[in-house]
């Protein structure tokens, strides 16, 4: 194993981790603001990939062009999910919330199965097949665009949370709901926005991964489980940490698989995840919530 191969595996891992990171950010936002785990998150991503595919197959839209469409449609879907399902169970016990997102997961997955059948489908992107060389290091243009898109989307979200009034209000609700209420912040509207943004992140991720990954009704699992690991690694509810966690997961996956056996790469991801939780139960970047 040469240093060049190892370095290549790290670069490949970062590229792959970029997408996991965006998924993790989406999951983390809801967890941070509302303490709700959205088990259906992978299914939002899957539906976003189908939307990308049908925009490609029907209207000839390149998966990258569909990013804003996906973001808007999924934002609306997120808000709708909150209004129709989540808002109603927020007053119930935590199990009601868990089961309702689990119910959503089953509904979304099998609705896709019924409507689209389990065929693998792939949108062809103009950028997916190119190769960018940096010396001996190589990345595909599809992955590079997905990575850059993921960083941009996460940066936009950071900016929103840090500098806008709504973003600040969201963080206030996340830190102390009662105090925020006392200050006249209306959590219900903010929760709806948080669900919208979280789903929009899945929408963007769905478009981005479509340039190199096929879609079928089970594809959500491919991204959801590493996404959850990244969320836990980064510190539950910490969107900044979730992004870093995603990158770590990507590198452990690819570099770990290359150094040992590729068959065990997912096991390595969860091993690292367990080790971190064992030593730092609040995650690598888990301190106070942001």
């Amino acid at each position: 194993m040469t240093a060049e191969i190892v370095l290549q595996s790290v670069v490949s891992g970062l590229m792959f981790g970029g997408v996991i990171a965006l998924v993790a950010v989406g999951i983390s936002l809801i967890w941070g603001v509302m303490d709700v785990i959205n088990f259906a998150y992978g299914e939002y991503l899957m539906w976003a990939m189908y939307l990308t595919f049908f925009l490609y197959a029907g209207a000839g839209l390149d998966p990258l062009v569909s990013v804003p469409v996906n973001a808007l449609v999924l934002f609306a879907a997120g808000v709708l999910t909150y209004r129709l399902v989540i808002a109603r169970v927020m007053r119930g016990p935590i199990f009601a919330q868990l089961l309702s997102t689990f119910g959503l997961f089953v509904l979304l997955r099998y609705a896709a199965w019924l409507l689209f059948r389990p065929d693998d489908r792939q949108a062809q992107s103009l950028v997916s097949n190119g190769v960018v060389k940096l010396g001996e290091l190589r990345v595909s243009t599809g992955e590079l665009v997905a990575f850059v898109g993921s960083v941009l989307a996460t940066t936009a979200l950071f900016w929103f949370l840090t500098w806008t009034k709504t973003g600040k209000a969201l963080r206030a609700v996340a830190q102390d709901r009662e105090a925020a209420l006392a200050l006249g912040i209306e959590p219900d509207r903010l929760y709806a926005i948080a669900w919208g943004i979280s789903a929009a992140a899945a929408g963007v991720a769905g478009s981005l991964v479509s340039s190199f990954m096929y879609v079928n009704p089970l594809v959500g699992d491919v991204f959801l489980l590493p996404g959850f690991a990244a969320v836990a690694l980064g510190g539950f509810g910490n969107v900044y940490g979730a992004f870093a966690g995603g990158l770590v997961i990507g590198v452990v996956n690819v570099t770990g698989g290359t150094l040992t056996m590729p068959k065990v790469k997912l096991a390595l991801v969860y091993l690292v995840f367990l080790a971190v939780l064992f030593m730092r139960p609040r995650g690598l970047f888990g301190g106070r919530r942001q």
Binding site: S12, V139, F212, M213, N216, V222, M261, P262
Partner: protein, 422 residues
């Protein structure tokens, strides 16, 4: 009004009576054959090829393919099953979705609802492993082209393998390697990359066994699970081990990701050899374009063999006229499945599953009676003793026979050119 109602009642009675009579009649009007294949899921293109191949054969046996008449093909010139008074073959399809669980449930549903005289399928070895006990329990003769060697090692009485098993399919690789070595072409390390269900694992085991028997030590084996978005570590592993003869078993979607990753990471071994799967699926060629070129696979059919079997070209032309594409290994193998079953029914002179099973044991079809490169004759385990393969290489996005020399339609490109030179 009353007259009309009376007429309707009489008509219904008539129809019912005809139905009852036909059940009672000695020779059935049609014989139902169940076909379990992956019509949806990760390999719908493959399932579609199997479907049109089987339908084409059934149409020939039912008298609908005129170009076959006068040839030696089994079923050519027939107008239904001769020994059953011209009973027509009727195919009923079930979708395995490439899933062992779905395949097993569908096999059971098919057998209990449409009561087929025989069944075939399920293409994916992993699915065939799951449905074999079902067809054995219901005692339905079943033909398969799945390659997993273990299928015929469990003493099943009703399962018959029409195509090659993993060993027969792997044999041609070593013959080919010997042949290219005589031509002065060199290679150093044999490695394997395979999906981790029955087809991939069995073929990899067979290759390892055969390599060791020839004094070749396999250098690396990389199994992988199919559902994943990133295959970089798999390819980096092969690249860093400098594997230059790569044996690959993949289905379509994973095969596409693997080939793209090979290109990205600049990994081009001297030979990529597969047992079919991704490189038989038209979707692989659509997605990969010229990057599909230069891979090799074990091949069981070629219309170019028409110098020895003139009917192959005529049959392929007719198939292309109907379906807009050439026959491939999948359509040809399912064509042969139907022929084998039709032959057994005809010799059994019965549509009863147990009688068909007994007749099928005695199957003896010569190579000129089928489209495959080999004939069909079963040993005591119901493996086809005549099964053998050729080697085809993808050149100009088409499979061309490169070995054995007497069947070759192109010279092999060895080694596969580096990505940077394409």
């Amino acid at each position: 009004m009353r007259g009309r109602v009376l007429g309707l009642v009489l008509a219904i009675i008539g129809v019912v009576a005809m139905g009852v009579m036909s059940i009672d009649a000695q020779a059935p009007k049609e014989v139902v054959i169940g076909v379990i294949i992956p019509l949806t899921g990760p390999a719908p293109g493959t399932g579609q090829d199997c479907k049109v191949g089987a339908e084409f054969a059934a149409d020939m046996i039912n008298g609908g393919v005129k170009v076959a008449a006068g040839s030696a093909l089994l079923g050519a010139g027939w107008n239904g099953i001769p020994a059953l008074g011209g009973a027509k073959l009727k195919l009923v399809f079930a979708d395995s979705q490439a899933s062992p669980e779905v395949g097993r449930a569908e096999a059971e549903r098919l057998i209990t609802t449409v009561k087929p005289s025989a069944t075939m399928g399920a293409w994916h070895s992993g699915v065939t492993v799951a449905i074999a006990p079902v067809i054995e329990r219901y005692r339905i003769p079943h033909t398969t082209v799945s390659t997993a060697t273990e299928l015929t090692q469990r003493g099943f009485q009703y399962l018959f393998r029409v195509g090659v098993n993993a060993h027969q399919g792997g044999e041609v690789l070593f013959q080919y390697l010997d042949w290219v070595a005589r031509d002065g072409k060199k290679w150093n390390k044999l490695g394997q990359l395979h999906e981790d269900t029955a087809a991939g694992v069995n073929f990899a085991n067979a290759i390892e066994e055969m390599a060791k028997a020839r004094g070749i030590t396999p250098a690396l084996r990389v199994p992988y699970s199919r559902e994943q978005a990133n295959m970089d570590s798999e390819i980096l592993k092969l690249k860093s081990a400098a594997i230059d003869v790569l044996v690959q078993t993949s289905y379509t979607s994973d095969g596409i990701i693997i080939r793209k990753t090979m290109r990205k990471l600049d990994y081009a071994p001297a030979l990529i050899f597969s047992q079919g799967g991704f490189d038989d699926d038209p979707k692989f060629y659509e997605a990969m374009g010229d990057d599909a070129n230069f891979g090799s696979k074990r091949q069981l059919w070629s219309p170019a063999l028409s110098t020895s079997k003139p009917i192959l070209k005529a049959i392929n032309d007719e198939f292309r006229r109907r379906n807009g594409r050439d026959m491939n290994d999948n359509s040809v193998r399912y064509f042969t499945n139907v022929q084998v079953i039709a032959d057994a029914i005809n010799r059994a002179r019965s549509a009863e599953p147990s009688a068909i099973q007994k007749a099928m044991v005695g199957t003896d079809l010569k190579a000129e009676q089928v489209l495959l490169v080999h004939g069909v004759k079963f040993d005591e385990k119901h493996d086809n003793v005549l099964a053998k393969a050729m080697v085809a290489q993808v050149l100009d996005r088409q499979l061309k026979i490169v070995f054995p020399a007497e069947a070759a339609t192109a010279k092999p490109v060895w080694p596969i050119p580096a990505w940077s030179t394409r």
